[in-house]
Amino acid sequence: MMLVVGIDIGSTYTKAVMMDESRGVRATAIRRSGYKPAAAAAAVYEDLLANAGVAREEVTYIATSGYGRYMVPFRHTQITELTCHALATVYHFPQVRTILDIGGQDIKAIRIDEGGRVRAFRLNDKCAAGTGAFLEKTARYLGLNTGDIGPYALRSTRPVEISSVCAVFAESEVINHLSTGVAPEDIMQGAISALAGRAVQLMKRVGLEQDFALAGGMTQNAAMVAAIAAKLDAPLNLPPQGLGQFNGAFGAALLGLRRAERLQAEGREIPPPGSEGPVQAARRWSLFVQAAQEPAMAPGLKALKVLR
């Protein structure tokens, strides 16, 4: 009996999936990443073990993903979330060729082949109001929780247009609409529609090949799913019930399982966790730039002395 774990340390949430040889999900766990992702990963791992009722020694292989993938000392390997999403999606939906992943800080569009290999991908332009954070900010203005965004927006009858590329500008638009008495659900729906537009634009840049799938936290937002599907004029495949947020972790677990199986098949021993550190052979010249240039006075420090 082999158990593998995928942990996806994202900027907002850390997610973990435990999988057995049948590729069935045994347990999941999730926590806010906060600003200590290593600690969050350790805690989520504990949660996961508890949820599964499994002891630490029973886990064969651990693969990490997400922006904190290098921060987990007890991993066997790390892999980027894009590769993970591709693997997970093609596992669930073999016919999918374009994946959209709307995250808190960025949107990713990924084109894959039938083997789940990433063929092309794009992240949103830096100045685009197209990130989940924009939606959360709008929700915050309207006094909504993130989870309520979808149901709330679905009540909209006359969505407003939010046209700004820049999220800061978009925020002014939101304030402006609010102050003129536009119904909050219409603003929320406007924001969703704007974000969906940005997302589809990004998908066009990787080729817009059918079928489509949505990954990440937005899969739980019915209004967003509907808005994107409408803009694409095609249905969106969604990860199986409850697995949307865990797509990355699921992909990491899948890849971990594949590697562990290969090692077993080749009759090789699975190494202890933590043996794969970041690859850093070459000298990091960038670390010495500050020293090579004139040591700049940290201007914050003098102010500090004055105040103490």
Binding site: S163, V165, F169, S172, N176, K204
Partner: protein, 431 residues
Amino acid sequence: MSVITEGLDARTTGQRLVNQWLASLGTARARGQPVAYVFVMGNAIEILRAFGFEMVFPEINSLQTGVRKAAPDFIAKAEDFGFSPDVCSYVKADVGLMLSNMQHPSGIRMPVPDLAIASSLCNVYIKWAEIWERRFGTPAFVLDIPGKRFAAWKSPVGSPQHLTDARWVEGQFRDLIARCEQITGKKFDSDRLAEVEAHVNEMIRLWIEILAFNQHRPAPYNSMLDGLTYMGVLNAWRGTPEGVEYMRLLHAEIAGKVARGEGRVPHERFRLVFSGTPCYVNMRRLIELFESHGGVFAASDYLTYAAGGLDSAGLFYDTSRPLESLAEVTTLASQMGLSNHFFSHHALAQQMKDFAADGIVYHGIKSCRTVATSMADNREYVTTRHGMPTLYIESDLIDPRYWSDAQIKNRVDAFFEVLEQRRNLQSIREC
């Protein structure tokens, strides 16, 4: 053939001329007329006209998408195609046009070019021409016109430096003529060039006087509203009898207003200089914000550079040596007018003086580095050196996403409060 009818005013005549021009673009292909794409700065229109080209101004096409409220769709198409939000919105609107089967919101299906001339006066022109090269297979003709090398650059007519630069421009004109001969199958006709130049000379003379009319108080027209319509006609009909006729009409009308003391703004309170490019989607709104405070744009650097620098060289074509003279005037116009954005502090200060203006309004364009890169530095210099009240506002050429009405109104209102306070102080001091 002429649409100029006795008794019509300049406005109606101008509209008719623009419509006629657009219509002829729509039929150019069918008539087998060669088509050139040109920009408003540094374009060798005289040569093209001598060869009988129809002229498409992609800048005017793009600004028209803004005026006709189609810009967001066109820009979205270009961004879908992969263009960055940071790229010039004129370029994106034009790409949008290409991706819309050349169907322009004016109702005209724009012809594809046989020739595209991009001058070096705006580097984006060149990148833009590269896009056509890829799309239409029309090789770009890059016309390098050296501008000012530094702020105090003087290149007096006939000086060795002027002749050196003019020789370079002339050399390229000769290349262009060869290209035109190849495209049209016609021989270059120097007399025809001289004829076109004679028309331009007359237009230059009238244009310089029209610009000067606004030194009168009250200003007879608003540079950044009426002036924009004058310029459209002037560019499209440059070097033609119709263009001269229109300018004469316009000149007479404005002269009449000056004589009668009619101002554009009923109660002119503040005279302003505008620096930068208009925001064509919201220009009426912007002017309204200023006019509601009795502010009028008496002058603008835009009326120089977007009119091809016609007024700036102070030099007319010598029709006895048309090609050499074309190179000399083009070079000088580029050095004294069209490359002014980079060193505009002197020119603006001069305009403030000539037009007895109360302040300068800088309009920074998000996606236009040609006019806007150092505006803030320029403003700082003009404010500190000359003690002039200035206002800096920012939006875009035609992308409404960068227009924030509340913010701009706030700044404009505050600027007029500054001007009022300053005037009150002045009158107290004078008492």
